[in-house]
Symmetry: D2
Subunit: 148 residues, 4 copies
């Protein structure tokens, strides 16, 4: 799975450099696409209907840690590809690693991570359902699916 994002006019700092904040915007979009694809694969909602992960899998996955290393600058209008990978899996935690590359030449521009804890509808810690893990792993390995 790869998620395409674009450097927008509102992503800049006063020097015309893409702001460090925006890379977290990019991985936020990638994680949203991943969870949306997982929900769709399990529940196949009707067009226009959007189910939440917590409704379909019984858990949601709030972020407990986020980080990003910056490797190369990006430019206005540039298309980037965010490739998420499952880096760590524990009963109630998981860490996703994101490789952010230029679409034009594949150059890695940033590497990020989000760590998530599984919580149930009442925000109590929960186990990550095996079915969710399996679907996520399949989606992440899939080269075609999930591109937007």
């Amino acid at each position: 799975m790869k998620v395409e994002v674009k450097v927008r006019s509102y992503d800049f700092d006063p020097l015309g450099v893409t702001h460090f904040l925006s890379y977290f915007r990019f991985i936020s979009e990638a994680f949203e696409e991943l969870m949306e694809a997982a929900v769709r694969r399990k529940a196949m909602p009707k067009p226009g209907v959007r189910l939440k992960a917590v409704e379909v899998f019984g858990v949601s996955l709030p972020i407990t840690k986020a980080e990003c290393r910056y490797l190369a600058p990006t430019r206005f209008g540039e298309l980037l590809e965010v490739k998420p990978e499952l880096e760590e899996l524990q009963p109630s935690h998981l860490t996703i690693k994101y490789k952010i590359s230029r679409k034009s030449n594949g150059q890695l521009v940033a590497e990020a991570r989000t760590r998530h804890v599984a919580v149930d509808k009442s925000w109590r810690r929960a186990e990550i359902p095996g079915e969710l893990v399996e679907i996520v792993e399949n989606l992440l390995e899939d080269r075609a699916e999930g591109e937007t």
Copy 2:
């Protein structure tokens, strides 16, 4: 009432010009300060407690229209003053006008407006309570209060 805002590093476009979006961020903050001050004046909550307008006045005021005219560029780190005024008042609508000026020399850099409709807890159209209007008018006329 004047609300001080600051042009931040994340407010820029690729040319190093403050993004047109950010002026809506500035007036959003000014409106938040106005409503927070109105709630405080009526309800005097304990420190650390934050009541919503709808809890205190029975209505909230979602935005139905927003606009901004751009008159002069602003720079990174610049302090701006947003001065809200009540421009139009109808039974269930009001329009607030915002003059955005440089703190350093008073130069007007943008002029904006938000139009609001009053809705009750169930998001049905409601009348704006006279008490809320009175408090807002007093706050807006007050030169000292509400500065942050």
Copy 3:
């Protein structure tokens, strides 16, 4: 031309309503796509190369006014279509109107406008080149092109 945008997790207010700011984000993206398409149609840069409008047409089009009317709420993950139209054209000004609709059923959720002034490389007012107008008009009328 229609530009597809998506309501993201970072687009919300404390009540879970899409923030009024985000609709300006959506039209910013639509205008960026329009200008990028105009540049591509005129200059056909190599892949990975991104020319600025001012380099290709001799003018850039900073925003002098922006406005948005909000008609219906939108939901997390919802796909919206932004359809720009040329509403007003003067020698050195133009106004673009944006109809923002749900992709699922075409319902109009917001209507926005941006007014632009043409400036040259030194930020002096300039005339909008006839060629730019023609390309923009062709792009806006085109039902297929410019979709992302």
Copy 4:
């Protein structure tokens, strides 16, 4: 040095939880205040004039890594205090740690870090000037200065 920030209406996710992105906004503001205070202490510019760090110290400090751990949720309108500390200092790198706490009761809600590399005007790696380190250390230890 402590920098006060406020959770704004545009800081939320669809569930009404402060978005993980916004904590990077908060530390961005804290770092901006720190650098602005350092520049002021060295150069004492006239009111309304804002010098860049690179003009005053010969280096700027772009971010090479950013991270945040999330410990407790925050609410709309809540005042937070960001307390930066110098965690690591090397000839051309430094790491700043940020403790983000509720102003009302001091509870720690997040802990973040930014790592910076010193570069000169041509974006070549440079040594961090001793004078800049000294000023930053003084500012960070100062309990009063730098509050906004």
